[in-house]
């Protein structure tokens, strides 16, 4: 096995964690179960869509709950030149 293979084999769990968090936020929303990240995603998307044309898939909302600090991460990928509506 190459050295690269040895290292790339490590730490696949964080990928699993992120995939699950993203997937379940959507599946819960489809199920009609309240999920804060999914609700925020929809509402933030609606607000942005009033002013800028963005792709649904380019808006990511991530909620991390920790024991002392929780973080809300909002990642919006904008098109090259923002197509501002009505400025």
């Amino acid at each position: 096995m190459s050295l690269f293979g040895f290292f790339s084999r490590q730490r696949t769990a964080p990928v699993a964690r992120e995939r699950l968090k993203f997937l379940l936020a959507h599946e819960r929303a489809l199920d009609g179960r309240s999920d804060l990240a999914a609700i925020l995603q929809e509402e933030i998307l609606a607000v942005i869509a009033k002013h800028i044309t963005v792709d649904r898939d380019k808006v990511h909302v991530k909620l991390d709950r920790g024991s002392s600090v929780s973080t809300l991460e909002i990642d919006i990928e904008m098109p090259g030149a923002p197509d501002l509506k009505g400025g």
């Binding site: 490590q10 730490r11 769990a13 964690r17 699950l20 819960r28």
Partner: protein
């Protein structure tokens, strides 16, 4: 008052039957009157894990359909006096269990036992929904692996919507039991950590059962792991989980099984 506990998971092969047998036996050893009920009609296995496969005469379907009395179908464990088994039937008829029949049998069991441990079949079909139907408490068995976590999330949704308690506006008590956990692999980032699964599923943790050779050894012999080798890591983890179900506060530790040098080397080389 009697408590109905469902052991469920959505995904198959994660350790529901092992858990039903181990928790049932551990609760009985704490002096509780316990019955473990196999709801996996057509694919019964709890009898085999409990070592009672040659003693099955009547089963859950016979009792539900009124062909046998409950007392005729119950099998008393030979090792722990206060432990009984109600086996499933091997019939292929998917509709053998009726909601009304199950409700009546669970009602009768509530009068005889302190704990009714319902071993759910995999999936989200009739058998699984009937197993959880009358539960007061649910133990969601999950492996630290993506498909198991996803299916557990789905089952948690069903527990909150399809159970008698949920329909009556009551809450069902839900607990996560993480099984087949390998602390070493989790530390190396090769397996989801306890905290990852807890954060995603957001239900309280009942216990962590280490991945262990003892579980297979106990099933080979038809003995709940908690009775077969009480000193082993999985048996201790199950016994602690049973005490937590009884209301005791016991710190949850990440179990580490002591391995010999050879099994360490061998275990690593095939991992």
């Amino acid at each position: 008052m009697a408590k109905v506990l469902v052991v469920t998971s959505g995904k198959g092969g994660v350790g529901k039957t092992t858990t039903s047998a181990a928790l049932g036996a551990a609760l009985a050893q704490l002096g509780q009157n316990v019955v473990v009920v196999d709801f996996d009609v057509g694919l019964r296995n709890l009898d085999l894990i409990m070592g009672a496969e040659r003693r099955v005469v009547y089963d859950l379907v016979n009792v539900v359909q009124g062909d046998a009395k409950l007392a005729q179908a119950l099998i008393r464990d030979k090792r722990v006096e206060s432990l009984s088994l109600l086996p499933a039937s091997q019939t292929r008829d998917k509709d053998a269990l009726t909601p009304e029949g199950v409700e009546r049998v669970v009602g009768e069991l509530r009068e005889k036992f302190d704990w009714i441990v319902c071993d759910s079949p995999a999936g989200i079909e009739r058998g699984a929904t009937l197993a959880m139907r009358h539960a007061d408490i649910a133990v969601v068995v999950t492996n630290p692996e993506v498909s198991s976590v996803r299916d557990s999330d789905r089952i948690i949704g069903l527990l909150d919507s399809k159970t008698a308690r949920a329909e009556a506006g009551d809450k069902i008590e839900k607990h996560l039991l993480l099984t087949r956990y390998d602390a070493g692999r989790a530390a190396r980032g090769e397996m989801l950590k306890v905290d990852d699964v807890l954060e995603i599923l957001a239900i309280p943790l009942l216990g962590i059962i280490p991945d262990s050779e003892e579980v297979l050894r106990a099933s080979n012999l038809g003995c709940p792991v908690t009775l077969h080798n009480p000193a082993s890591a999985p048996a201790r983890a199950y016994a602690d989980a049973a005490r937590r179900l009884m209301g005791e506060t016991i710190e949850i530790v990440v179990p580490i099984e002591r391995k010999g040098l050879m099994s360490r080397l061998f275990g690593r080389s095939v991992a």
